[in-house]
Symmetry: C2
Subunit: 209 residues, 2 copies
């Protein structure tokens, strides 16, 4: 039985406490080898039926970056219009993406029609393929933070437009747009909590059946 | 900047390598405090707009366990009928759930209508709430393995029937049915790979745009 020490468990807990959704990045480049090492965690992620349905696209050209940023800005303006009064004022003051600064940006897709795994485990719950991609992203996120990198997951986007702008196959669904780089600040609490948008529950209610 | 040592990063990599989807459990009970400590990682997970939409249900009564097992068996029989020849023979030989033995079983739902977070980040991608639940489950999975516990995610189920059998609100969607306990064996490679269902890719292709 491969076992892990109490010290490791405490450090893992600290890693989860310090993992943040980062929107304030320094513009310093990130060494390719560092990113590659973090990306290697995708191969260790659980996937339904071993389908490994994640597809990773690195957004590097100015045109691709500009299209993604414009996509975010349109969706964010639209989102703002759904709030009013104090909540609207607060929403407008939030920085909800680091897309102008983050040196590394990835669009992560799910191949909904992959043959890999022969559909095992995804018959009644085809969404399991997308969930597998999310599990891989979560592992990448933890590995990146352990390597001193910040990750921000941008979801205020039209996902179909992202796929179209990047010329991806129709069967690939956008799961996440990730901004990656060195965080400008290191915080133990979420920015949305510090700025008064929402509190953390701090307690997990468990229902018995 | 809270930083993590190279030794910790290597152990984190080992943890991801040894994390498995477990279907063979010992029946020994698991101490409540151990499970509670692993469940505490839910509170550290990223969630869209700080919505914390995860809802955790512990399946303890014989009736609730029997209903979940019957649900799996019906879905598994149905899934088998979709394969033929050698693939069907192989599928029939696979053990795809540890529901008969796992001492701890959890159904994890997403509250699709939570007010928490006021919808931030989930306007164009409402699936972000379910993705937040998956991220929390992934963190729990890693913490459980670090604590010496195995986790198996069962998705061969009718999710709506699970919700109905457990009398959950209509707005709660089943994301995962988790089997938890001490693994009968400790393996560094996936069972689906060892038994010849599917190989792991072992390499992550990255597309540039």
């Amino acid at each position: 039985m491969t076992s892990f020490s109490e010290q490791f468990r405490q450090e893992l807990d600290q890693l989860m406490r310090w993992r943040r959704d980062v929107r304030h990045f320094r513009r310093d480049p990130v060494e390719g080898a560092l990113i590659d090492r973090c990306l290697a965690t995708f191969n260790l992620a659980p996937s339904v039926g071993l389908s490994e349905p994640w597809r990773v696209v690195r957004i590097t050209t100015p045109a691709a970056r500009a299209a993604a940023l414009a996509n975010f800005e349109a969706a964010n303006t639209q989102a703002l219009s759904g709030y009013s009064g104090e909540k609207a004022k607060l929403y407008a003051s939030l920085k909800l993406s680091g897309m102008r600064d983050a040196p590394v940006q990835l669009a992560v897709f799910c191949d909904e029609e992959t043959d890999k795994g022969a559909g095992l485990g995804a018959g009644t719950m085809p969404e399991m393929r997308r969930y597998s991609v999310v599990a891989a992203i979560t592992q990448f996120w933890l590995a990146a933070r352990a390597a001193g990198l910040g990750v921000g997951w941008v979801s205020i986007l039209d996902p179909v437009q992202i796929s179209r702008d990047l010329d991806m196959p129709d069967s690939w669904a956008l799961v996440a747009y990730l901004c990656i780089g060195y965080a400008a600040h290191d915080m133990q609490s979420p920015e949305l909590e510090r700025l008064g948008w929402e509190d953390r529950r701090g307690h997990l209610p468990v229902i018995d059946r």
